[in-house]
Amino acid sequence: MQKLMMVACTLVGLAAYATVAISAEDLVAAVKERRHLMKEVVAPNAKLGGQMVKGTVAFDTTKAAAAMNEISGVPDKYVKLFPKGTEHGAVKDSEAKATIWDDFDKFKATAQKLKDASAKAAGAAAQGQGTFTAAFNDMTKVCKECHETFREKLEQ
């Protein structure tokens, strides 16, 4: 019994430690992973979708759906990468507006919109280029909405 108590105490203590002490490295890593997901996963797949919409790349049902599914896989991971203290100005390369933490539920809801809209676009791919284009353009509206509300663009 005593042993059990000790283990429990240690676990509680560890958990408390983990929530309090997020090291500076963790914050930097979170920002890095955020940027990786946006720049290496979302943007290239959106670019491919966009090229099919514009007609510069031949429309391909399977490839279009795959690209949209890749995007749809991002939001759930993405919203977990926003510990407090990772806003623009606090960590190098962060483009997160402080308003994210003022209303984190709204931020999560917007991320959910991207998940839904990209899944819808993936489904629409099977119904031909016209349907895909409409769904794709709806998805990019979510990109814009979220960036306008929550992104502080780095100076270029």
Binding site: A90, T140, L154
Partner: protein, 343 residues
């Protein structure tokens, strides 16, 4: 000694007379206005193309908030923080006291084509009449008629906060001598109708050059650097070069430009932000043919290197930040040590 004083007095008086003459408000006479039955639909279209609401509608929260409240209530109140001082954007709703409800069509045309308000008051070119002057009388008459249909607002924004000598409106007469002639855009007969339409929209109502071009110290656009990018007139960073060069958007197709104007997405699927987001939303409301015309004109601009090297601007921003009293207190102790590296 006395003679010297007298000579000085003569020179001063002569100077004052020359200044007075050169800065007399130059206006369009009523006889110039054509008989034209206002077309409200086209007026609304010009209102959108010209981005009137983006400056004149009340900002959402702070006075420099990029977003606006109701775009149809042009009650003013936006603040533009520029190197010349703070411009507080006026109310141009049809209210007779607080707005421009008492302006005749001729008054309105003179403001847009000559930078002169009723009573001969010179307007500051933060209001981009340097571009609007290229608009046709017909489009301006339509625009005025449309503005008259919008709701009136009693809001009275604060006056501009400008230092000497910029607070002397009369002096703008000299500036207007250089940059304002009120001449309509002249189509180039050698170019297609599409390219000329694009040129009209960009150089006239769209006033794209106003942000995308660098300026001399006194605020005139450097013609040889037109559209080659500029310092952000309202803060940090740069406005991009949109000429078809390596620094600019030379690798964008016509379709890429039209698509950006329609959706706000760059070819690499970044989302444009800041003040361009609102501009793009207006462009999205134009006809597809007009967006294509704008793209055709942009694509045909002379290719130019960046007018403001991005590296130089970054250094300047960093210096400004260091010089700012108190520094950035928001991030306080959690701020990462700044190694001045490239970001």
């Amino acid at each position: 000694m006395r003679r010297a004083l007298l000579a000085l007095l003569v020179v001063a008086v002569a100077g004052a007379v020359v200044f007075y003459v050169l800065t007399i408000p130059r206006t369009v006479p009523a006889s110039e206005l054509p008989a034209h039955k206002p077309d409200l639909a086209n007026g609304e279209y010009m209102f959108t193309a010209g981005g009137c609401a983006e400056c004149h509608a009340t900002p959402e929260k702070k006075c420099n908030d990029p977003k606006t409240q109701d775009k149809h209530v042009l009650s003013g109140g936006r603040c533009l923080k520029t190197p010349f001082g703070v411009f507080n954007v006026p109310n141009i709703s049809p209210d007779k006291e607080a707005g421009i409800g008492n302006w005749s069509t001729l008054d309105f045309v003179n403001a847009l084509k000559r930078g002169i308000a009723p009573g001969g008051e010179h307007l500051y070119p933060a209001f981009p009449y340097t571009s609007y002057q290229r608009m046709t009388y017909a489009d301006l008459i339509d625009l005025k008629a449309y503005l008259d249909t919008l709701p009136a607002s009693k809001n009275v924004p604060p006056p501009h906060e400008l230092g000497f000598p910029f607070n002397i409106r009369r002096g703008l007469g000299l500036w207007q001598l250089l940059y304002v002639d009120g001449k309509d855009f002249v189509p180039d007969p050698k170019q297609s109708a599409e390219l000329n339409r694009g040129a009209y929209l960009v150089m006239g109502p769209g006033h794209c050059a106003e942000c995308h071009s660098s300026r001399y110290l006194w605020g005139g656009i450097i013609k040889s650097e037109e559209f080659a990018g500029a310092r952000n007139p309202e803060g940090k960073g740069t406005v991009p070069n949109i000429t078809p060069s390596d620094d600019g958007i030379g690798d964008w197709s016509l379709n890429d430009i039209s698509y950006l104007l329609e959706t706000g997405n760059t070819p690499d699927f970044d989302v444009i932000g800041e003040s361009m987001a609102a501009v793009q939303e207006n462009m999205a409301k134009l006809t597809a043919a007009d967006r294509d015309a704008i793209a055709a004109f942009i694509k045909a601009l002379p290719a130019r290197p960046d007018a403001v090297p991005k590296s130089e601007q970054k250094k300047k921003d960093a210096k400004d930040e260091d010089a700012a009293p108190g520094g950035d207190t928001k991030t306080g102790g959690s701020k990462e040590p700044d190694d001045g590296s490239d970001y």
